[in-house]
Amino acid sequence: MATKRKKASPKRKSVRPENGSHMITVAVNGRKFTRAVEPRVLLVDFIRDDLRLTGTHVGCDTSHCGACTVLLDGRAVKSCTMLAVQADGREITTIEGLSEHGRLHPIQEAFKAHHGLQCGFCTPGVVLAALELLRVENAPSEDRIRTAISGNICRCTGYQGIVDSVAAAGEMMRPRKG
């Protein structure tokens, strides 16, 4: 099955104001933001510094730790390994976008119920990486879960609480029968 990459919509050419910045419009957690940004600015820094959404964290320099993971058009990506200008016309979900009207998303409830976090620093990234999996597979095997979060490093939990939380979240997210 050939897969086609989802095209950014609407298609825009990057416009260049005088100082080398580009105007970009990014939808973050359902809200559109239009900002001028230099091409060198990493997406994670744009999210944290420009948009002041500091739930997405920086834990390393070499794209290993996954603390910066966000969803880009539904796919888990490391926002430290993307430029903000690449997000022009795209949709981003950060951890702040999961709960609605103050109610926790099932995956957040599950992490709480199964002790899926300790210091909380890796948590936003690992929750979003797991969410990508659960949106396509709501009864993943333990091996599938561990693989889905293998791009996220946690130093506190030993991963077991995280794995159990993700499995529980899958159960909670399964459509109720009858």
Partner: protein, 289 residues
């Protein structure tokens, strides 16, 4: 760790992309998945004047059989291979690659074209494609040309691509009955580069004799290499333990690994032998003969 400043262009057509590359020569870098490029920029190991983001260029992401070939668009993401039924069923060697390369986030963005053009000596994709008579299409200001995979990798991080060219497509002969392949990667942990990697693609006839064999090795020198002696040791023989043992031994002697933090030369050589044998076993099982 922030990159130096650079200009950024996101062309909407292949022609425009090539034009920008030609205008800037080696002051331009192509941005596809960015999973190799952006870390390099962050560590300030490269300082390009302009980044050419080709993600909007249409027609570069596909995995399909056409005629007597499997044709792969250079912008296909690693995860596309993980999820492709065609790949899983007929070209499982590429499922192997996709599953041992990077991690899920890297696989969502990283592309096969980017991995090939980056030309790491440990390149999983480069090694796996070397196990095929693969042809790479490069498009430049003077049109398209075909580069055979055997001539694509030159030195670490250096390929036969000119600075004005874009890698657009990879073609390999279509899989036929009796074909089987496997890619095995020895790594210290998830996300690590290959300590060693072995790619094997076999063609077996109805009697289980090896009609064709290609063996390629990762992390054994400045670029992925074939093991022609090991290949010769297989052709014409019955696929089985004796032939595999001979081929595996030859492959370990043809490789030139160096001692580093991932392992000593001695260990790497020994592992090439073990992994070649295991890859041959898996490839044979997949050939279904």
């Amino acid at each position: 760790m922030q990159p130096h400043s650079f200009d950024y262009v996101r062309p909407q057509t292949l022609a425009r992309a090539i034009q920008v590359l030609s205008e800037n020569g080696n002051r331009a870098k192509v941005l596809a998945g960015g999973q190799s490029l952006i870390p390099v920029l962050k560590l300030r190991l490269a300082n390009p004047r302009v980044l050419v983001d080709i993600n909007d260029v249409p027609g570069l992401a596909f995995i399909e059989e056409r005629g007597d070939q499997l044709r792969i668009g250079a912008l296909s993401r690693h995860r596309d291979f993980e999820q492709s039924k065609l790949i899983r069923e007929k070209y499982p060697i590429f499922s192997d690659v996709a599953s041992v390369l990077g991690d899920p986030q890297v696989r969502n963005l990283g592309t096969i074209g980017g991995a090939l053009a980056h030309a790491d000596p440990a390149s999983d994709w480069g090694t796996a494609l070397l196990a095929f008579k693969a042809e790479l299409t490069a498009r430049g200001p003077n049109g398209a040309r075909t580069i055979p995979i055997d001539r694509f990798f030159k030195d670490p991080f250096t390929t036969a691509l000119r600075s004005s060219e874009l890698l657009t497509e990879i073609r390999i002969p279509k899989s036929k009955a009796g074909d089987g392949g496997a890619y095995l990667k020895l790594k210290r942990k998830t996300g690590d580069f290959a300590t060693i990697g072995v790619a094997v693609q076999l063609g077996l006839d109805a009697k289980r004799n090896v009609a064709g064999a290609r063996i390629a090795l990762a992390s054994v020198g400045p670029r992925p290499i074939r093991a022609p002696g090991a290949e010769k040791a297989l052709v014409g023989r019955k696929a089985g333990p004796t032939a595999f043992a001979d081929a595996a031994k030859m492959a370990s002697e043809e490789a030139h690994p160096t001692s580093d933090l991932r392992g000593s030369e001695e260990y790497k050589r020994a592992m090439i032998e073990v992994f070649t044998r295991r890859a041959l076993e898996t490839a044979t099982a997949r050939a279904g003969r």
